[in-house]
């Protein structure tokens, strides 16, 4: 308990959910008698991100972390739940012209694929300059050039590079251009969707270092999506583990890595091949991530969990606070593990 009142978090997500209708076309459904198919990509996710901090979301395929990223930047509208940005309802603001423009300036995104995230037919100056022109931050050509040059320098590229095309750059350099573009409007909040997954290890190190430096310089808040827990350990302050659209554990970085609570988190940490554990033999957990279209009942992890009981099969666990971390697990709640 601290005597100093904590400032309100910049981003607050409450019970966010997104369901996609992936049913076969209407005619097929009628003729073949197939039912509607709903994909619950995100099923009730809540978290807070304080200003200047980094929340990392990790999970395997189908866990919904990319969908959460897109919900947070307004590319999708939530099926249920709400998002507060700087104290205001974000999705309501997106629907107003003024709110939309403000939020688009303050929230930006960096993507995974450095080869698809830059328009191959545009030169770098136009790519990085587009947000500046769109939001009226620059009014003439000279200003544009100056701003773009400064942005490129801040990510370690040369201002002359603005005349080149994306295919003339390597993957790591392209990712830096993406970062420069994202920073053009001086945003407060940056959503990073697996920004280094497609990069080589040595290039990844460069990009991660730049991202950390920029965060310190500009007081940025990050939501960092990744499946690589080692990278997450390096960049995050808080970590959320997702499984089939739900948060199973949400904890400070050191808590999570030194003392993981949820069985899935433990399994995940154990499954990662570690460089300095040479030749270690271990028994990995059995099974695979179930089909998200047909998730198990109750706690979706119960088929693979060594601690599952009857309650786990029937009842979905809520994300509860437990010794400073949040865990969604009946076994933890009941003190069984």
């Amino acid at each position: 308990m601290s005597a100093i009142p904590q400032p309100a978090p910049l981003v607050q997500a409450h019970d966010l959910a997104k369901t996609f209708d992936v049913s076969p076309p209407w005619l097929n459904r009628v003729l073949e008698g197939k039912p509607r198919l709903l994909l619950h990509a995100v099923d009730g996710v809540s978290f807070d991100i304080a200003r200047g901090q980094t929340l990392a979301l990790v999970g395997e395929s189908g866990c919904g972390k990319s969908t959460v990223a897109r919900l947070l930047v307004g590319l999708y509208r939530p099926t249920r739940g709400g998002l507060q940005f700087d104290g205001q309802d974000a999705h309501a603001a997106f629907r107003t012209r003024e709110g939309h423009n403000t939020l688009r300036r303050r929230i930006q995104m960096i993507f995974q694929d450095p080869y698809a995230s830059l328009n191959p037919r545009w030169i770098v100056e136009d790519i990085v300059g587009e947000p500046l022109k769109e939001h009226g931050i620059v009014t003439d050509e000279a200003q544009l050039e100056a701003r773009v040059g400064a942005l490129l320098q801040s990510v370690g590229l040369a201002p002359q590079d603005m005349a080149k095309y994306p295919h003339q750059f390597s993957g790591g350099q392209r990712q830096r251009i993406s970062i420069a573009r994202a920073l053009a409007t001086q945003p407060d909040f940056l959503v990073c969707d697996e920004p280094t997954s497609a990069l080589d290890v040595s290039v990844q190190a460069q990009v991660l270092n730049i991202m950390k430096d920029l965060q310190r310089q500009h007081g940025l808040t990050y939501l960092f999506i990744s499946h690589n827990l080692a990278v997450v350990r390096h960049v995050s302050d808080q970590v959320g583990v997702m499984y089939l659209g739900r948060l199973v554990e949400l904890a400070g970085k050191n808590h999570l890595f030194d003392n993981p609570r949820h069985p899935y988190t433990r399994m995940l940490l154990d499954a990662i091949p570690k460089m300095h554990d040479i030749g270690r033999s271990r028994t990995p957990v059995s099974g695979e991530v179930p089909n998200p279209l047909n998730p198990p009942t109750g706690c979706t992890f119960h088929p693979r969990c060594p601690h599952a009981n009857a309650r786990c099969k029937a009842e979905r666990p809520a994300l509860l606070s437990f010794q400073g971390v949040k865990v969604a697990c009946h076994a933890v709640e009941e003190g069984r593990i």
């Binding site: 040595s202 350990r233 995940l268 030749g279």
Partner: protein, 325 residues
């Protein structure tokens, strides 16, 4: 005697802007039953090495010099028919994407049986029995029923197990695995790595494991070769290369990998990037980025030389000249 010997292999791609040398004088050996890891970043040439060994280089790429010897006999200069017979019988292959490695139109059983019958002198019934045995051994539940399923009826991890079974079907001596776990989830990765180790040990097959993931190498391999710009920078026992790398590139690489067991404020980074094939610097390919480069590094290209417990292509370890700091 080594199972596989690669000697001074050079692979080139003639193109309209000149000939690009993608692999420049690669030499290494794999002993029977050993697991060798080939690690490197994109563009280093590790996949090309695998392709050259199996004989699946895409034209216009070609082996312009050097030899590949399997059990003492040359295989790089064989005519297509003979190489086809060796592929599958003596060398098995596993690729990255399990979805495209299997023919979607045929059942898994048919593909397995076809491979077995092509290379081994057994009856069709015996082949089917062996196929079921292979599926069981690679951990596919209800193998006698699932053998007649199609690839799309298996999940990603299961499909990769089928691919491993297929690679082992003709009882090869060597398996070339190119990024076999990269497309899989972390938890499945662990299962597949364990499986690969076990079945290869059980059958005495050697493995050439090509990947960019050092963690996978650490867990699986006996020895590792680190590639850079089409050359081998360092090779040696896995434990030594990871903990006591001798080549500055290996040192930089190990330091740049984020460690899940400890907090670090900044990741060590290697400035610059791997040179493109048409712009490889003279002398040692790593010299522009190397913090310890000196005059000889630019002038002469180093070959692999003894560097303590490993072998590194670096003049810092030249025993005949005094080492420069």
């Amino acid at each position: 005697m080594s199972l596989l010997q690669v000697q001074n292999l050079i692979v080139e791609f003639p193109g309209r802007r000149g000939t690009l040398r993608a692999l420049d004088d690669i030499s290494f050996e794999i002993a029977p039953g050993e697991i060798l890891g080939v690690v490197g970043e994109s563009g280093a040439g590790k996949s090309l090495t695998g392709a050259a060994i199996i004989g699946l280089l895409e034209p216009p790429g070609r082996i312009s010099s050097g030899q590949v010897l399997l059990e003492g006999a040359r295989i790089d200069n064989l005519p297509y028919e003979q190489m086809r017979r060796i592929r599958g019988r003596k060398i098995g292959a596993i690729f990255q994407d399990p979805l495209t490695s299997l023919n979607p139109l045929y059942t898994v059983g048919r593909q397995l049986v076809e491979t077995i019958l092509t290379h081994l002198p057994v009856t069709p019934q015996e082949a089917r029995r062996r196929a079921i045995g292979l599926l069981e051994d690679t951990g596919i539940p209800a193998a006698p029923q699932r053998i007649d399923h199609f690839p799309h009826q298996f999940s990603g991890g299961m499909r990769q197990r089928v691919v491993i079974a297929l690679a082992l079907a003709a009882e090869p001596r060597l398996i070339v695995a190119d990024e076999p776990t990269t497309a899989l989830d972390v938890s499945i990765q662990a299962q597949i790595i364990q499986l690969l180790k076990r079945v290869c040990r059980d059958r005495g097959a050697a493995v050439m494991l090509i990947t960019h993931d050092m963690g996978v190498i650490a867990e699986t391999c006996d020895r590792v070769a680190v590639m850079y710009a089409g050359r081998i920078a360092e090779s040696g026992p896995v434990h030594e290369v990871i903990n006591q790398p001798a080549h500055p590139y290996s040192m930089g690489l190990m330091a740049a990998i984020p460690d899940i067991t400890q907090d670090r404020e900044r990741l060590h980074q290697i400035d610059g990037s791997m040179p493109r094939l048409d712009a490889i610097p003279p002398g040692c390919a790593y010299n522009p980025r190397c913090p310890r480069a000196f005059a000889r590094c630019v002038a002469e290209r180093p070959d692999l030389m003894d560097a303590g417990a490993t072998r590194a292509a670096c003049w810092l370890h030249d025993a005949h000249a005094g080492a420069h700091a």
